[in-house]
């Protein structure tokens, strides 16, 4: 069982300083995620779910506690080591897509592959874009794409280096219902195809139900860490 743990948070605290006062964002999070699972993080605005995800993927450094992801302890890594860790292990999808506006869809998808020194980055990027149904939009710039298309490019970019873990922060938050549904289908299809682990932040209970585990977070604490997915009958979140 221990060997299957791909992500582990131990007593994570996050405090941010703002001018004269300090805000407690995370107040002691303990979590283990098994490889290959889809975990949903549910919580209200300001509950700390995005911050928790940022700590998991090394975008934010915890004030206290320890983070292990894909066999790497992130606690003492500097910015550049974290960047390399992300490049080699994880993919991130954000609500606001965050495509590079000066690059075409193809170039955007190729970026992480090029940074990793993949020789046929462009070919792989093409395959990835074809896989997400955008083979006709390869040379379009982000401003020439619809919201759904932009998010598909972002998904292709996140999945192109075949990450071990995929983080998705409200990936459908900026999309209409039907497009959002298609995007979720795509994320799950690619996750299964690559046998990746998925950490999904959402407000949407129905969407959370599609995952193997659901974690509720409130005021920087996991309030329901014993939810077990009915279909699987396993308890993994503690």
């Amino acid at each position: 069982m221990t060997n299957d743990i791909i992500l582990e948070l131990k007593n994570i605290h996050l405090r941010l300083k703002s001018n004269d006062f300090e805000v407690n964002i995370l107040n002691g999070i303990d979590l283990k995620v098994v490889k290959g699972k889809a975990v949903a993080i549910l919580g209200a605005s300001g509950s700390g779910k995005s911050s928790m995800m940022s700590v998991m993927n090394g975008l934010e450094r915890q004030t206290e506690g320890s983070v292990m992801v894909a066999g790497h302890v992130l606690d003492r890594m500097n910015e550049d080591e974290l960047a390399m860790f992300r490049r080699d292990n994880i993919g991130i999808i954000l609500q606001a897509f965050h495509l590079i506006p000066t690059m075409t869809a193809l170039e955007n998808v190729a970026v992480p592959l090029e940074l990793a020194g993949v020789s046929d980055a462009e070919t792989k990027a093409r395959e990835m874009l074809t896989d997400v149904g955008l083979d006709h939009r390869m040379d379009h710039y982000p401003t020439q794409l619809s919201g759904g298309e932009q998010q598909r490019v972002a998904i292709a970019r996140a999945m192109a280096p075949e990450p071990k873990i995929l983080f998705a922060d409200e990936p459908t938050g900026n999309l209409d219902g039907k497009t959002g549904h298609n995007i979720i289908e795509l994320i799950f299809r690619l996750k299964d195809k690559n046998d990746a682990t998925l950490i999904l932040i959402t407000h949407d209970q129905e969407l959370a139900e599609k995952c193997d585990e659901i974690i509720h977070i409130e005021d920087g604490l996991i309030t329901d860490n014993s939810h077990v997915h009915e279909n699987e009958g396993k308890k993994v979140a503690e």
């Binding site: 934010e60 550049d80 960047a83 992300r86 490049r87 000066t102």
Partner: protein, 838 residues
């Protein structure tokens, strides 16, 4: 390679944001490149035609003496040809002596010109122009004197005792640039006619120029060195063709250096624009950089991605600047050729372009490394937080600071090292850096001061104050970019004002109307009686005048005496000297006493205090003087404070009334005439004493005025270029805040602000910044001007309140005018338009 690939992808959309960057670097590069190219072109032209400019391979100049037989025999043995040109100042009078003017006579022999061609309006050969024909000698005046006296071909001009026939007007004089500073325009005549003029008498300030043509392949520099070594005692000045171009070359060098400093100032001001542009660009790239980091890009990759973009943009700007600057010699070749007796080479020279590129690349890096270093530290978490301020600059490696300081030091060292006028360059660099630092300090003070002000004013003023202090404000950029140009303008205006006021003041009070040279001893009493009898004449003053030089100071030969460069003139060649029993009215004794009227003791001298100090003398010390070949020792009796800026006759060396009274001398003198009688008296004196050289203060002042105008023109160009660079930077700074202004304006309208409220807020903001910049410019400009007027020119400081007031008004007008576009857009925006896009 990945970084370069990403840089090339990004740069496709970057040109719009780099407009100010390109303009600033282009301007600075183009100025430095053009100055370097033009001066190199001229220098190359001067070197190519060096023999022509000097008039020979080697020239020996002597004053008041011809070469001795021994000296002449020496050169004749070694030179193929020897030509003589004699120069002296004299008066030229029109036919019937109706008009007169000071001229420089240039008497030439039959070999003139040995190199090049004398071009005249008539196209005749030199012999046809100058030789005696039908009992009359010919003369060729410069255009300036022909115009001044209304002389045409065939007219007569009287010089001394000869009535010359004008046979042509000079179009191009091949060797004119080798002449030193000239008080008056030249008239070329034949050497053979000089004796008849009667002008060369004992004591005449005549200069002989012996020009030699050496055999083919002879080394002119070696000739110069050998002759100096073989005749160490000879009083002469030897020049070879490698130093040809003389005055022109020195002038070009000086102007070149001055204009290079202008270019560097523009580049420095432009550097602020470059920095702002890169800062703005990188700020707009925060999300992209964060995205890169999320996707695994390391800080160094980020640094390289944007460094490459900046280098590409810099390369484009610098190349355009070099192209423009390097082409300038072609564009201005015809103009330069019309102003100087040279043929411009019209070539691209790699050297000056490389120097310009070097400076520009350094400036680009110095001003962009900081924002680049900040950008590489942008964290990936930036995507999750809304930022309105700059990325945090914590943990910036010190290496960047050291690199920036190192590059700045290299650049300043190179500017300083390549400068011939290091003191001036040092002052300039020091002044620039001090201004830069003080303006930056002012910017911070304004921002801090405003942030501490209570916000109890009208809403418009409150918004204005907030705009000055809010995160991402342009306060520093605006004050810095506009400030440097305004400091220059203020100081220039104040120096000019002081200078003009001082000249006016002196002219009004004690200035004589005429200066007389070469009054022969025999004529003196009669001349005095004649002039003093004229109506309106006052303050008649004449003093004996001789020329001599200091050969030893306290027994040490003059060329071994250590003196600073500013006082070297005291020991260089012949100087004017006088003897008198009266202390001049405008001199005051610093120490010692004046000779009693019937002094009959040992030979003694009174020195000007500056000469006394420079030579490190004490009362009773001995110096050795050589006057017309005779040496004698004199003791220092006193030192006088001399006002060299005045119009009176002053001497560094005044001897006791006895020691030189038997030596041959002439008189120099001054007379004041009332304004009403000035013209009539001038005509009467010059007509009656045609051989006495008369300088008219009116004409001298006109010449000074022309010189001042030319200097002013060059300085104005400098200030204008700096202002243009400043305006470019200012536009960039205001444009950078434009988006924020529109957004603010939309929000203010949503909460009920009228367009008038918004306009008032922006006007307040620009007035505050304009006044702050103007006040700093006044203070620093006044300090600089005071330093120049009192410290360098040693003149009286006269301040005018009008100039500082105009500076502040100019500062407000410039900021307002540039800001108006932004203000207009902000006022006319419809809130929904903006808010929809949020």
């Amino acid at each position: 390679m990945v970084a370069l690939k990403f840089a090339l992808r990004e740069i496709r959309f970057a040109f719009k944001q780099f407009r100010i960057f390109i303009a600033c670097l282009f301007l600075g590069t183009a100025i430095i490149a053009s100055v370097g190219s033009v001066t190199t072109n001229i220098a190359e032209s001067l070197a190519r035609d060096a023999q022509m400019f000097l008039g020979g391979d080697v020239e020996i100049e002597t004053n008041q003496r011809t070469l001795s037989e021994e000296e002449m025999a020496y050169v004749v043995q070694r030179a193929e040809e020897v030509s003589l040109v004699t120069e002296l100042r004299a008066m030229a009078h029109t036919d019937g002596f109706t008009d007169s003017s000071l001229i420089e006579i240039k008497a030439v022999d039959e070999l003139y010109p040995m190199f090049g061609v004398l071009e005249t309006s008539s196209g005749l050969s030199p012999r046809e122009l100058l030789d005696q024909k039908n009992g009359r000698w010919g003369a060729v005046p410069a255009e300036a004197i022909a115009t001044r006296l209304g002389l045409n071909e065939g007219d007569t001009v009287n010089i001394g005792n000869v009535a010359y026939e004008i046979r042509g007007i000079t179009v191009r004089e091949p060797d004119s640039s080798s002449a030193g500073f000239q008080l008056a325009p030249t008239i070329i005549v034949s050497q053979d006619s000089m004796e008849e003029t009667g002008l060369i008498t004992f004591g005449s300030l005549v200069e002989y120029n012996y020009r030699f043509k050496l055999p083919d392949g002879a080394d002119s520099q070696l000739f110069e060195e050998t002759i100096k070594a073989d005749f160490p005692e000879s009083e002469w000045r030897v020049r070879d063709k490698t130093g040809g171009g003389g005055q022109t070359q020195r002038f070009i060098d000086r102007m070149g250096q001055f204009m290079t400093l202008v270019g560097l100032t523009a580049l420095l001001v432009g550097g602020v624009g470059v920095s702002n542009a890169v800062h703005g660009y990188l700020n707009s790239k925060t999300n992209t950089i964060a995205t890169f980091k999320i996707l695994g890009a390391q800080s160094d990759t980020i640094f390289r991605i944007y460094l490459y973009q900046i280098l590409i943009m810099a390369a484009i700007s610098i190349s355009l600047g070099l192209l423009a600057g390097g082409s300038l010699p072609w564009i201005f070749a015809d103009y330069l050729e019309s102003k100087m007796p040279i043929a411009i080479a019209r070539e691209f020279y790699f050297g000056p372009l490389a120097v310009a590129a070097f400076y520009s690349i350094l400036i680009s890096l110095i001003f962009t490394l900081w924002p680049l270093a900040k950008a590489k530290n942008i964290s990936a978490r930036q995507l999750f937080r809304i930022t309105i301020s700059d990325p945090q600059d914590e943990n910036l490696p010190r290496g960047y600071i050291y690199t920036i300081i190192g590059m700045a030091t290299v650049m300043l060292a190179m500017v300083f090292y390549t400068a011939d006028y290091r003191e001036l360059t040092g002052y300039f660099i020091g002044g620039m850096l001090a201004s830069f630092a003080l303006l930056l300090g002012t910017g911070y003070l304004v921002r801090e001061g405003v942030s501490k002000l209570p916000r109890k004013f009208s809403p418009a003023l409150r918004i204005a104050l907030s705009n000055i202090t809010r995160p991402g404000n342009s306060t520093l950029s605006i004050i810095l970019s506009l400030g440097l140009g305004l400091i220059l303008l203020t100081s220039i205006a104040l120096v000019e004002y002081s200078l003009e006021s001082e000249i006016e003041r002196r002219v009004d009070t004690d200035a004589p109307s005429y200066f007389f040279l070469d009054i022969q001893k025999a004529d003196h009493d009669e001349f005095k009686a004649f002039t003093e009898a004229r109506k309106g004449i006052s303050l008649y003053r004449t003093v004996p005048n001789l020329r001599g030089r200091i050969t030893h100071v306290k027994g040490v030969p003059a060329d071994e005496v250590e003196v600073g460069p500013e006082a070297r003139w005291i020991l260089r060649g012949d100087r004017g000297m006088t003897f008198t029993d009266e202390l001049p009215e405008d001199n005051t004794l610093v120490f010692g006493d004046w000779w009693p009227a019937d002094y009959d003791g040992e030979p003694e001298v009174s020195l000007s205090y500056d000469a006394y100090q420079a030579l490190n003398l004490a009362p009773g010390d001995e110096i050795t003087i050589n006057v017309l070949g005779r040496s004698f020792d004199v003791k220092v009796r006193s030192a006088r404070e001399v006002d060299w800026g005045g119009f009176g006759i002053n001497y560094a060396m005044m001897f006791d009334p006895k020691v030189l009274s038997d030596a041959p001398f002439t008189y120099v003198g001054t007379i004041k005439s009332t304004n009403e009688t000035e013209a009539a008296n001038y005509q009467a004196i010059t007509r009656t004493y045609p051989n006495i050289t008369t300088l008219r203060l009116k004409e001298v002042l006109e010449n000074v005025q022309v010189l001042l105008e030319q200097i002013k023109g060059a300085i104005d160009v400098m200030a204008s270029i700096t202002i243009v660079a400043g305006i470019l930077v200012l536009s960039g700074a205001i444009a950078a805040g434009h988006k924020g202004r529109i957004y603010d304006s939309a929000l203010l309208k949503v909460v009920g602000a009228t367009r008038k409220d918004i306009l008032k807020a922006y006007i307040f903001e620009f007035i505050i910044l304009g006044v702050a910049t103007g006040v700093v410019a006044i203070i620093l400009g006044s300090v600089a001007a005071y330093g120049i007027v009192v410290g360098i020119m040693e003149m009286q400081w006269i301040f005018s309140l009008d100039i500082p007031l105009l500076t502040v008004i100019a500062a407000i007008i410039i900021t307002m005018s540039i800001g108006m576009f932004s203000i207009y857009k902000a006022m006319s925006v419809r809130p929904a338009q903006v808010l929809r896009g949020v």
